[in-house]
């Protein structure tokens, strides 16, 4: 990876001949054609592209757009985003790409915009590979996908249902020390988790986050130019991103994800090891994602999260504080803001503001984010000032 401060330049371009009618072609097909032109013009192999910036609604689906395009083109990405600035989008893409390259996040960013136009027929709504090849088979929504991830973990490693339930129990325990959590005052036992209704086997109701309304926000400042408030600030020590797929059928693996390289790079960037962390603030849409994240951090060998958990304590006073706000399993999942609850909790802990659940001398936290079917991963290392 390039070192910080790398210069950025435009190495290749592609352009499609304008037409009044694009016929039967989809937006994804148009993106494919112009991307091949630009990458060839740059003299690069497709595998050299490790960043992707796209416009909104590509493939006529409004969410997970970068992963949809990246997967379609078989790319493994260290940086991906939608840039949604109307006619300013193209320039917006170029400077973001330059910034990402200067930051050392990635080396070669494909910036691509394309659209279809037909005069004879209305656009088909929501055309994308998941809609065409998953939904007709009765596989709508995230639950069935994470259920298959958990089933593979059970099959491959002989892991135990009791250990997945224990994750939920411990996160609920932590939520008892956060008065805002949706499950405050409602601890749960392992037996209650194991006897909760099966939603999509082997995932039970209490292994799935509770949807809630809510919101989270953070403000990032130039630390050398703006004076901090009295409570001080929390340093961004390292970050990384990895996008591998959108549909679970396209996942390189089911029991390890792009979190693994993203966490490794974020820790390297921060110059610390997993053992140096005082808080693990791990994205937890389902019990199984916590298990796989523990393994992908490298805290234990693959398949061994249960045995590892038995040796460690996730509470604020424990040896491995993990999701001290209760995680989303204990706090609730306010849709996309759910991922930001993990950042807010880390900031509170590192500032010493986590009243009633404060980790003593909290210096460094790892925060993770996860999207789609374990195909979009982000990792962030934060440090006390």
């Amino acid at each position: 990876v390039t070192t910080p401060g790398s210069m950025a330049a435009i190495a290749g371009v592609g352009e499609l001949r304008p037409v009044r009618d694009s016929g039967d072609r989809t937006t994804l097909e148009m993106i494919t054609e112009v991307s091949r032109l630009a990458v060839a013009d740059a003299g690069l192999e497709p595998a050299a592209i490790d960043g992707l910036l796209v416009g909104p609604m590509v493939g006529e689906t409004p969410m997970h757009v970068p992963a949809t395009v990246g997967e379609y083109l078989g790319m493994s990405l260290r940086f991906a985003n939608v840039v949604d600035l109307g006619g300013a989008s193209a320039i917006g893409m170029v400077w973001r790409a330059a910034a990402a390259i200067r930051e050392g996040v990635c080396e070669a960013v494909l910036c691509v915009l394309a659209n279809t136009l037909t005069e004879t027929r209305p656009r088909s709504p929501n055309r994308n590979p998941i809609r065409e090849f998953d939904v007709p088979f009765g596989a709508s929504g995230a639950n069935v996908n994470y259920a298959m991830i958990k089933q593979r973990h059970l099959s491959q490693w002989g892991s135990r249902e009791e250990d997945f339930a224990e994750i939920v129990v411990r996160e609920r325990d932590n939520a008892q020390r956060h008065p805002d959590s949706i499950f405050h005052g409602k601890p749960v036992s392992r037996e209650e988790v194991l006897s909760s209704p099966m939603i999509a086997s082997p995932l039970r109701l209490l292994e799935i986050v509770m949807p809630v309304a809510g919101g989270d926000a953070v403000v990032v400042i130039a630390a050398d130019r703006i004076a901090p408030a009295a409570h001080g600030m929390v340093k961004v020590l390292g970050a990384a991103e990895q996008i591998t797929h959108r549909a679970l059928s396209q996942a390189p693996e089911l029991t390890s994800g792009p979190l693994k390289p993203a966490i490794a790079r974020a820790l390297a960037r921060a110059g610390c090891a997993a053992e140096d962390l005082d808080l693990l603030s791990l994205y937890d849409c389902y019990s199984v994602l916590v298990a796989i994240t523990i393994e992908d951090i490298g805290l234990c060998p693959p398949g061994q999260f249960g045995a590892w958990m038995a040796e460690h304590d996730f509470g604020p006073d424990g040896d491995f504080p993990l999701n001290t706000h209760g995680g989303q399993l204990g706090f609730g999942q306010p849709d996309l803001a759910g991922g930001m609850t993990h950042i807010v909790e880390a900031v509170r802990q590192l500032r010493g503001d986590a009243a009633g659940r404060q980790i003593r001398d909290a210096g460094r936290a790892l925060v993770t984010g996860n999207g789609a079917t374990m195909g979009e991963a982000t990792a962030l290392v934060l440090g006390a000032a």
Binding site: T26, L28, R131, A200, A247
Partner: protein, 151 residues
């Protein structure tokens, strides 16, 4: 679990067929499982794409898959994400690794208690709502059972 003959009566979404993917769905009506193969690197591809996701060569060819597969993972769905599937619960969604290499999402017919990771499967053609879909079943299921025998 409902009989496969009742799958035809479900009110569930079918595929959003495009000009590029139409050969897959047309072949399905004839009980043929088509996947793509790259003309340059010769790697098999599924789902169908406008170029090879491995080497970006243009316009992959269509080839007919054997319909033999193994089971990567599965889930017995009790509460579907789409309300149209409520009449079909419990049903078994699966990730199926085709003998040619690519993985596809499908459903497994039969008793899910008999399922084991990596067990051999074979394709079974099922009419679901208005579409013929490739489902799978254990390769050892029902000696002499034809691809469309009710069970």
């Amino acid at each position: 679990m409902i009989g496969i003959e009742r799958l035809a009566t479900l009110e569930v979404p079918g595929p959003t067929v495009t000009a590029l993917t139409a050969p897959f769905w047309e072949a399905a009506r004839e009980h043929r499982l088509l996947i793509q193969r790259c003309t340059a690197c010769e790697r098999p591809i599924f789902y169908p794409r406008a170029c090879c996701p491995y080497c970006w060569a243009d316009s992959p060819d269509w080839i007919e898959a054997t319909g033999e597969a193994t089971l990567d993972s599965w889930s017995v769905v009790s509460r579907p994400g789409h309300p149209g599937w409520r009449d079909a619960v419990p049903y078994t969604v699966a990730l199926v690794r085709l003998a040619e290499g690519p993985v596809m999402l499908s459903q497994i017919l039969g008793d899910p208690r008999s399922l084991r990771a990596d067990m051999p499967l074979r394709v079974v053609w099922v009419q679901c709502a208005g579409t013929i879909l490739p489902f799978f079943e254990p390769a050892s299921a029902g000696v002499g059972a034809g691809p469309n025998s009710p069970r």
